[in-house]
Every structure is written in C-alpha cells, then in structure tokens.
C-alpha cells in the first residue's frame, strides 16, 4: 500500500524548515567559541606559512640562473637556511601545541553543572532523559533538548546499540556515544536560539537522518517547558484525536511507543507523550505538522529507508485520526 503519493512526500521533505544553525564558524556556546578562536589563530598562521612556502617554491623554480650551479659556499648557505627554517618550524609547532592545550582546558565538563541530561543514542534517533529536579519529576523525550541559556549543562552520553556521535557545532565540539561506556560533554549556550546538530559517527543505514535540536531559552521558559514535559499526555478532546487515540492503542503502535498516562508503554521507539510539542519528527527529518505526521506514519520506509519503524496498514481515515491524535500531544 502506498498511502501517500510520492509528490506529497517530496513536498513534505522540501517544506521542512527547522534548520537552526549547524556550523562551527557560527558559535553561540562557550566551548564552541573557545574552539573558534583556536581555529582562527591556527588557520591564519597556517595560511601565512603556506604563502611563504609557495613564494619560495615560485622563486626557486623561476629565478634567473646566471651563476654557475654548484659551489661549496652555496651548499653551506643552503644548510644555514634549511636549518633556520627547521628551527622556525619547531618554534611555531611548539606554539600551536601549547595554544591547543590551553583551549583543551577551556572545554572540559565542570563538576558542578547546573543541569545534567542523559542522551542515549539509538539507530537512528536520540533518546533523552531529564532527571527529576525539585518539584519536577524526571521525564523522557526524544530528538530535542531544551537547555537554559547561560548555564553549564552536562550531557551524559550513552548508547544502547552502535557508536554515535553527538555534535551540535554551534554549541560545542562533538563527543562519541559508545556502548558500554559513559562520556560527558559541556553545553553552554550564550544566547537563546535553536541549534541543530546531527550524528557524526557512521551508525548504519540512516546515519544521514539523525539530527537533534537544542533549544536554548531563558531560564523561566526552560522551567515552564520542563514542567509541561514532565506531566502526562493531554487527554484528547477533538473527535478525530479521540478516535486516533483508540486506533493507536489497538494497533501495534503502543507496543513500541510510550504515551504517559495511557496504556501505551512500549520502549523500542521514542516516547510520544509530548510529540506535538517538538519541532521535528523522525530525528529532524521533517517539521511537525499534521501532514508530515500522516506522511511519516503512512510510509516511514519511503521517507527514511531502513529505519526501525514498520509500516502499519491503515485506512486513510485511521491515518488522519492518528495524525490528529499525535498532533494534539502538545
């Protein structure tokens, strides 16, 4: 069954708009800013060196030659010049190395981070755990991390299957998620915004579609978001959403997904309790709209070939109702 015509898929794909910024040259997080300074220094020094070498190369091959080729004095002079060049190399290299060590000091995970979030890599999405803090109980979400601006956030990086790599270049360098190990990464957004990142370690078929959004917002907004996320799913009111919920519980969906506050408690796929509040679905594949939800549910294997969500046969009415239900889970 091809529930969604290819035309719709391509419009859905083309319409997804949540790019955020994903560039090491547009840093908005403290570690990324440190690294960018290092990048600029090293690149400038290296460019100057390259230009100098090219200058010498050009002169060496094109200079006029009217003196006899070989005489012992020029051999001695060559030795002096080459030795001086090597000595200069040693000094520059030592300088760059020390600069690199200083930058390394600036990107470590502090012991007293304001917030610790566990990120678990899965083929091909991100499972995210917020621990309980104060009155807010812990909760789980997927593919979207919210952090308060201007605070140190410690990410604990784990993996349940293969190696992935967490990389949001505008905020920090990357760090691998290795099964059997736990790694750490410091995030600290200096200004509010949506920062896109994606898996950087080859992890199989859909490595290309494993994006993550980091939403940095003022502390108050963050607290509001966390409080909302920690609650159970809203009970649908609209008739199509109510029907959608019933279909969701009856079909295989509930075996893989959790919707807190309902009987759906599967753990294979992402927690859908507040899927409607997330900016994207399918790990940054498309923007969350009723249409994209429908396209995804109808035929996940065409949108993201090889992913672990099977195609569940649905009538077009069922599909519309489920999409409405999903969209309602704000």
């Amino acid at each position: 069954m091809r529930a969604v015509p290819p035309l719709l898929i391509s419009t859905v794909v083309a319409a997804s708009g949540c790019s955020g910024n994903q560039s090491a040259l547009d840093p908005n997080g403290a570690p990324a800013i440190h690294i960018e300074h290092l990048i600029i220094v090293i690149v400038i020094i290296c460019t100057v060196i390259w230009l100098l070498v090219m200058g010498v190369l050009g002169l060496a091959i094109l200079r006029r030659r009217d003196r006899p080729a070989e005489d012992p004095i020029s051999e001695k002079r060559l030795t002096t010049v080459v030795s001086a060049a090597v000595a200069t190399t040693v000094i520059i290299i030592a300088g760059l190395t020390i600069a690199s060590f200083y930058t390394t000091r600036g990107i470590g995970v502090p012991e007293d981070a304001a917030l610790t979030i566990t990120v678990r890599g899965q083929q091909w999405w991100w499972q995210i755990f917020y621990a309980s803090s104060g009155a807010t109980p812990g909760f789980q979400t997927a593919n979207e991390i919210h952090i308060p601006v201007g605070q140190d956030v410690h990410l604990k990086l784990e993996s349940t299957d293969v190696i992935h790599s967490f990389w949001v270049p505008s905020l920090a360098g990357k760090q691998d998620l290795v099964p059997g190990r736990s790694n750490g990464l410091l995030l600290r957004a200096e200004k509010p915004g949506v920062y896109r990142g994606q898996c950087a370690e080859f992890c199989g078929l859909q490595h290309s579609h494993m994006a993550i959004m980091v939403v940095a917002e003022p502390a108050a907004d963050y607290e509001r978001w966390a409080a909302a996320q920690s609650g159970n799913a809203v009970i649908p009111a609209a008739p199509d959403a109510v029907a959608g919920q019933a279909i969701f519980m009856a079909k295989p969906c509930a075996a893989c997904h959790t919707v807190r506050g309902t009987s759906a408690s599967g753990t294979t796929g992402p927690d859908l309790t507040h899927i409607g509040s997330r900016q994207t679905i399918a790990a940054g594949l498309v923007e969350t709209t009723r249409g994209s939800l429908a396209a995804w549910i109808a035929d996940p294997q065409t949108l993201k070939p090889g992913n672990n969500m099977p195609m569940v046969p649905l009538t077009s009415a069922e599909l519309q109702n489920i999409s409405a239900y999903m969209e309602s889970l704000k």
Partner: protein, 102 residues
C-alpha cells in the same frame, strides 16, 4: 661499554623513552585522577631527562669512525632530536592539563 657501543645505544634511548611515555599517557592519567599524584608528569619529566642524557652521551666522541658509521650516528642523532622534541611537548601537556578531564 665501549665508546662505539655507547654512541649507538644512547640514541635508542630517546626513541624508547618516547614510546614508553606514549603508552604511559594512556594508563597513568586514570591513576593520577584517582590518587591525586601527578604520575604522568613525573614519568614524562623523568623520561625527558633520560633521553637528553642519552643524546648527550652519544656526542661524547666521534673520532675513529668510518664514513658509513659516522653517517649512521649522525642520522640517529637527528632522529633522536625529533623524539626529544615530541617528549618535551608531552611534558608540556602534563603541566597544562588536568588528568581527570575527559
């Protein structure tokens, strides 16, 4: 040990010191972090000193060598210098970085 033997063996020392230091760099930071003793820095400084001594020893005397021997001793002296440089950069790392940082 004859002077000739010394010249050759002394130059192997910086190389071995570097190899050992590189391996220790994979092992001792964990211990440093747990025990709060700068093992890595101590090992690195010790190996640096040893390799400089090796380097100096090889320069003790260069008389009485054939052309090929002189070539070998000079080449290995230059090679050993590269390893002393690498060791001193490693030493700088132990001074600047926190062994607990991951």
């Amino acid at each position: 040990m004859s002077a000739n033997r010394l010249r050759h063996t002394a130059l192997v020392i910086p190389l071995l010191a570097w190899a050992l230091s590189t391996q220790l760099g994979q092992i001792t930071p964990y211990e440093d972090c747990q025990q709060d003793v700068p093992w890595t820095a101590l090992a690195s400084c010790f190996l640096l000193v040893v390799s400089i001594v090796g380097l100096a020893g090889s320069r003790a005397t260069l008389t009485g060598l054939t052309r090929t021997e002189r070539f070998l001793v000079n080449a290995s002296f230059l090679i050993a210098l590269a390893f002393v440089f690498a060791l001193s950069l490693q030493g700088a790392a132990t001074m600047l970085l926190d062994p607990c940082q991951r």
